[in-house]
Symmetry: C2
Subunit: 435 residues, 2 copies
């Protein structure tokens, strides 16, 4: 099955991921036994004078996108620049020119993936993007190929390494968000501007991409319920632990009321389920299908080499398809799909932490408001009495309640005279039957 034809590859972007991809391609070029054969034809960068970790052959580097996009020797374009512009235009140009595209760009796939995938279908050029979600974890191909015989019921994932690192540290050390964030920034686990991660934009892009593939359902990132981790306090971890939970930032896509409910938010997760045990910058995707049951994929969700692993997997897939003369149309999704179920229809148990007056009758008032909204209480903890202030922490766990009802009740509870503050309201992720 050794195919003597070589497949020409061009790179857009030569940052840490691009450099790791370049090294992989160069290593394969040097190995005469590698199959399919790749040939490195060009790399486009913004600043050609910047020092690079990878040593490229002469004539490869250029600041002109045309050196790759208009190069007849390039059959596969690898886009690892990130961002929507100019990546969207470059990918479109490449697909229209009959070139196949492999990209690690979650933002352009989440925001304009429908257009790009349609264009790929029209032109017959492949568009592969395994690296855009979960780094080296092969979740897209698993959904597109291996689970193709399944009806997917749900995807629940830890797909942002920065926030999982921060939450794991908060949980294990009892540290506060701001301290751990500062430490993560020093260690390079968090960006100087951490918004994309800690406010969960990144996870929202990724669940949008997963939902398109697994449920054939398009969603703009704006249409997805999104809540970051800034509100989570060290206290919440210790109370959650007391109750048998830890706290994770989950991205969830689940069939609900005949539609698909997409949501990204911190959640209490029972300590004994697989997703609760994933710590540090690791990612985990839990998929449930009607045939396969639950399936868990865990690995490094970011980083140059793991991302390059996914990029190279796709490049070699395209190269095999070029050599074999066919296309398998994976990582595509026909535009059937489900409607989006609004977050207000979500139903789950809730964890509510209040600072309340430390005197009799407080719980009755809070319980009264919850009862009015049809929400019943599962358990109550009174913690951390502050005798000087005359207050205490009240931690309430509810039975399953509708999101809309809980939001109404929460607004009323905030206004009760006996309540100093509703400090946090965290959804509990349901695991009815875990093996």
């Amino acid at each position: 099955m050794h195919n003597p034809a070589t497949v020409g590859v061009g790179l857009l972007g030569l940052g840490v991921v691009g450099s790791a991809v370049a090294e992989s391609i160069l290593r394969r070029e040097r190995d005469p036994g590698s199959s399919p054969r790749l040939s490195f034809r060009g790399a486009v960068v913004r600043d050609a004078s910047r020092p690079r970790s990878v040593t490229l052959p002469g004539g490869i580097l250029s600041t002109d996108p045309g050196s790759v996009l208009d190069n007849p020797d390039v059959q596969v374009v690898v886009e690892v620049m990130g961002g929507v512009n100019p990546a969207f235009d470059y990918i479109s140009t490449a697909l229209r020119a009959g070139k196949h595209v492999v990209t690690a760009n979650k933002e352009v796939l989440a925001k304009r993936g429908d257009e790009l995938l349609s264009l790929s279908m029209e032109t017959g050029s492949h568009l592969y993007y395994e690296a855009s979600v979960g780094g080296g974890i092969p979740i897209l191909n698993t959904l597109a190929d291996d689970l193709a015989g399944n009806e997917i019921r749900s995807i629940r994932a830890i797909i942002n390494g920065t926030t999982n690192y921060i939450l794991s540290k908060m949980g294990s050390e009892g540290a506060d968000f701001n301290d751990v964030l500062a430490e993560a920034q020093q260690l390079g686990y968090a960006e100087a501007d951490p918004t994309a991660d800690v406010d969960a934009f990144d996870a929202t892009y990724k669940i949008s991409i997963l939902a398109r593939l697994a449920f054939r359902t398009s969603s703009s990132p704006d249409s997805i319920y999104r809540e970051g981790i800034r509100q989570v306090a060290a206290k919440d971890f210790s109370y959650a632990r007391e109750l048998g939970y830890t706290i994770k930032l989950l991205a969830v896509a689940r069939r609900s009321n005949g539609g698909l409910l997409l949501r990204v938010h911190p959640a209490l997760v029972p300590v004994d389920v697989p997703i609760a045990k994933v710590n540090g910058p690791m990612n985990m995707v839990e998929v449930e299908g009607d045939l396969v049951g639950p399936l868990w994929l865990q690995g490094a969700g970011a980083g140059a080499k793991p991302t390059a692993s996914a990029v190279m997997g796709d490049v070699l897939r395209v190269a095999r398809e070029i050599s074999g003369g066919g296309r398998s149309a994976t990582q595509q999704s026909s535009p059937a799909g489900l409607s989006l179920t609004p977050m207000s229809e979500h139903s789950c148990e809730f964890y509510m932490r209040l600072t309340a007056a430390d005197r009799p009758g407080v719980l009755a008032k809070v319980a009264g408001v919850l009862g009015d909204a049809d929400i019943s209480i599962r358990s109550v903890l009174q913690m951390d009495v502050d005798e000087k202030a005359g207050t205490a922490d009240l931690v309430i766990m509810t039975h399953p309640a509708r999101e809309a009802n809980m939001q109404q009740a929460a607004a009323r509870i905030r206004n009760l005279d006996v309540v100093v503050a509703l400090d946090n309201l965290i959804r509990v992720e349901g695991y009815p039957s875990v093996p």
Copy 2:
């Protein structure tokens, strides 16, 4: 990308897995929107009068293998009979007739996979076998496709659900092997004749298949070091826990001394690594690649529906390739590969449990023998003194030692007058740097 052509599928075998596959195919037949389109053309069984859980259309069932193998309307043959004979002949016949084959048969793939894969290359017919390892876990395609850019360093796996169920129960309940085995047999987790599972033949087949794909290295199951779980006692779990470990049956393929070392045996695993947390009949495969780092795939390793999930993934892959006109040659491996490193060259820490005389000087004698074999002791526990018998359990943990040295030392220790019995010798699985 909707393709109006339908792909004809024939089934060899209609047991629990075959029935689940048949139901999946029939469900897709009824769904006009499914793509690629499948058409169920025949099912071969030994006894046509046996009642089945699935209701088949008339004319589908036959006791004549030719009704599928010689049927011009069948393009994909699904073999779910198991065993080497007559499966090997049927698969060969199908491949020679230009039919593609999807199989769940680990035994035929492990024992005669080289011949079948060569035949597939020669004839251009595809042979896919994702379902043969890890049930619904997409490990073969992950190795063949997604990690194609990696050099695989090691595979360590829990790939036998029966033994993991038994070991988990022994660990959590302090129960003995025979009691848990009997219970597992009642629950249907273990066969009436449990040899294939508890003596680790099944796991050996699977690691042989994984090694062929990941390291392009052929191994007959006979050439793989194999040790089952009958020797593991409840005591070993409690001592292991004391030392920070649990006990798992691991199947391991790892580069070693320029070759590949394959081994299947019970191992002490640190309690905090992912593979230690996989309990019950679940499977987990841990792959380490030079780019991706460690990657963990976890799911149901057996059962009708999970296995059908993997079979259907492969059937749909073949069907897409037939529709698309090409072949991607995945799940193949060119016959380069590594030589097999013998088990005697393995090196690891050891856990040794002795029943020894409870008097001074015993440890000095045992330590002397170990020292002669160049093995140093990391820690010693003296447990369970039996005053009546005048004996005690001695649990010795060693520093890394060569297998050959340890086997020599163990033989001498068995003969020491102060040693009543060398009750168990279990290898410790090394996890130098776990995230």
